[in-house]
């Protein structure tokens, strides 16, 4: 196996009484594409922040490591990640300073982290703006953030994340504001970079269509823990963890009614004991409320549920 560009090992993150991540492990090889999915509030953005070494004030890491190119990012406060991991944040609106031209803000990042002159940087940025489908890429350099539409701001940030030629791109829902034709161009661009330059991709998404077309493997998070992980195709075709199965049953391609999973993701301050999914799980039984399920390996997949082979009752999927 190729040495991974990124490897997260048994990572846990807390903020005060909130247990946001517990024992999360994953790896992305060079040129590899990993998708992270899971319900709102289950810790996806926090995982990305840990990988970038930018956890919020007050966050503690009681255990685990984040290795990027062999170095522990948590140990050096993110220094070895700077300029080498591209990041597309979840909220493009909050990530750009409204009083500076968008182009200048990105050129400033390049000045600090990318080799070359300002002219090289401008040329490279215009090329990137074109690649992310911004209209009139030259003129876009001089515009202020509010002069772009929501989806255009999102694409600005994708260009910004790629501007220093990173080894790893970490993206938090980067195509939510894009129509499907534009989205398709962006996904093709990223796939091209992964294939041609070995760019490794870690993609948080709620969109299973995007997951299916972009990501080779997937990690499903639930309430701060890994529920299931493995090759995307296998997981989508034959989800095993009850949570994955119920989540996929909500997909409009599969669901007939406006199905949902009964109940809600627990607050990070009130995580249930045992399996965190047990209060919502139709397969749950006594021991599920007591023991943290140990991940088992099943046909190239990791599943954190001892009852994954059992059929779900029909009503749970209705």
């Amino acid at each position: 196996m190729i040495a991974p560009v990124l490897s997260v090992q048994r990572l846990s993150v807390r903020i005060g009484a909130a247990r946001i991540l517990d024992d999360v492990s994953l790896a992305v090889p060079a040129g590899g594409t990993l998708g992270v999915v899971g319900e709102s509030g289950c810790g996806k953005s926090t995982l990305l922040r840990a990988i970038l070494g930018i956890l919020p004030r007050g966050a503690e890491v009681p255990g685990g490591a984040v290795l990027f190119g062999g170095r522990d990012i948590l140990a050096d406060g993110g220094a070895s990640a700077r300029g080498r991991i591209g990041f597309v944040p979840q909220d493009p609106y909050l990530s750009l300073n409204p009083v500076f031209r968008a182009g200048d803000q990105i050129l400033e990042i390049m000045r600090r982290h990318a080799p070359g002159t300002r002219r090289d940087h401008r040329a490279r940025l215009v090329e990137l703006f074109r690649a992310v489908q911004l209209p009139e890429p030259e003129a876009a350099l001089a515009k202020y953030p509010h002069q772009f539409s929501g989806g255009q701001r999102q694409r600005l940030l994708i260009a910004a994340a790629l501007c220093c030629d990173p080894a790893l791109l970490v993206a938090d829902e980067p195509t939510t504001a894009l129509d499907v034709t534009t989205q398709r161009e962006i996904l093709a661009l990223l796939q091209g970079l992964a294939a041609a330059r070995g760019l490794a991709l870690l993609f948080v998404t709620h969109d299973f269509g995007v997951l299916a077309s972009l990501c080779e493997s997937v990690t499903v998070l639930y309430a701060g823990r890994v529920a299931e992980s493995g090759p995307t195709r296998d997981v989508l075709d034959d989800p095993r963890h009850p949570y994955t199965r119920m989540l996929l049953a909500c997909h409009p391609d599969r669901a007939t009614a406006l199905a949902g999973i009964p109940g809600t993701v627990p607050a990070a301050t009130a995580q249930p004991d045992g399996c965190r999914f047990h209060p919502r799980c139709p397969l749950a039984r006594g021991d599920c409320a007591l023991d943290v399920p140990q991940p088992v390996l099943h046909r190239g997949r990791v599943i954190a549920c001892p009852y994954h082979a059992e059929a779900l009752p029909e009503v749970a999927l209705a």
Partner: protein, 332 residues
């Protein structure tokens, strides 16, 4: 049902007249350029289209946050346009907006419960107990723990912020709600809950929705009628059924064919060719012609008239009849 909100030949110019930092005059662009629509009371009216085609600008203008250059807006059959933003917004208080960027809608220094409470108070709910009860009820409806009310926006995840933004507006029970990408970034189970909530509220309070979204499978399920926008114009409009089952405009067809599927199957259409369109250089004739596989000489010269395809189904394309015989697969 009668029209509750309408627009006639609406034109919106952005960025004009303001001087840039270097003292240069920036030319205005017409982000909305001749849009007419009629939204019936109680319906869910979908707006889809390419990123940057003018959906948010149209929404802001309907709300009275942005002044129209020409054209009219009608609310309850009465002319509601012609005034500048603060006054226009007051006139159209019955129309509310759920912001595309959840972070832009919440005050970072206020606990989210306080923001919601303030909204209800401004809307005249005097009784504090009643306000608290309605907030708790609404939080539950969007799938959030009532304890979330004491959090600050930065202590919430992206999807939690979006749900707070939605709850904050729905609490006020406006008559028309413009939802700008209400399900973006929500996972499937929460999305299903939010869509159910919207449907229930519509039934209970007779709300009307304008639903702007890039998610075609959601639009298909929740919208009664759909308008497809391209570069500031509506190019096709019809019932959800008509637009999805028999799309006539080549742009609509390209859009429907590009939707990614769960099974990872390749899209049924070639990607759109050509550069993304720019408002500073709007193509003459049909605005879509430089990227259209069906384009002929006349498309580059004459703007297409809006033709009626069937009752309630209209398309602005010179060559829509040729798409009739070439049925394309649309996403299931």
């Amino acid at each position: 049902m009668p029209e509750i909100l309408g627009a006639r030949e609406l034109v919106v110019a952005l960025g004009g007249g303001r001087r840039g930092l270097l003292g240069r005059r920036t030319a205005a662009v017409r982000a909305v350029d001749g849009v007419s629509l009629s939204i019936a009371e109680g319906e869910t009216f979908g707006i889809v289209g390419e990123s940057g085609c003018g959906k948010t600008t149209l929404a802001r203008t309907l709300l009275g946050l942005q002044r129209e250059a020409t054209g009219e807006i009608l609310l309850d059959g009465r002319r509601a346009s012609g005034r500048a933003p603060p006054a226009a917004r007051r006139d159209r208080a019955a129309v509310q907006y759920v912001h595309q960027d959840p972070g832009a809608a919440l005050d970072p220094w206020w606990r989210v419960g306080a923001t919601m409470d303030e909204g209800l108070r401004i809307h005249g709910v005097r009784d504090a107990g009643q306000r608290a009860a309605r907030i708790a009820e609404m939080l539950e409806a969007v799938g959030l723990d009532a304890a979330m009310a004491v959090r600050y926006p930065h202590e919430l995840s992206g999807g939690q912020q979006r749900r707070i933004g939605l709850a904050r507006i729905l609490l006020l029970r406006p008559r028309v709600v413009i939802l700008d990408e209400p399900t973006a970034g929500l996972d499937l189970s929460v999305q299903a809950a939010v869509l159910r909530l919207l449907r229930d509220l519509r039934g209970r309070f007779g709300l009307t929705y304008v639903f702007i979204s890039h998610d075609l499978s959601v639009v298909r399920r929740v919208c009664d009628r759909i308008a497809v926008m391209y570069l500031g114009r509506i190019v096709e409009e019809g019932s959800a059924e008509q637009v999805f089952a028999a799309p006539r405009h080549p742009y609509t067809r390209a859009l429907l064919a590009a939707a990614p599927h769960l099974d990872g199957r390749a899209s049924t259409a070639p990607p759109l060719t050509g550069d993304p369109p720019s408002l500073r250089a709007v193509p003459p004739g049909c605005r879509f012609h430089p990227r259209c596989a069906l384009a002929r000489a006349e498309c580059a010269v004459t703007p297409p008239p809006t033709d009626t395809v069937a009752a309630g189904h209209a398309v602005a394309c010179h060559r829509w009849r040729e798409t009739v015989d070439a049925p394309e697969k649309v996403p299931a």
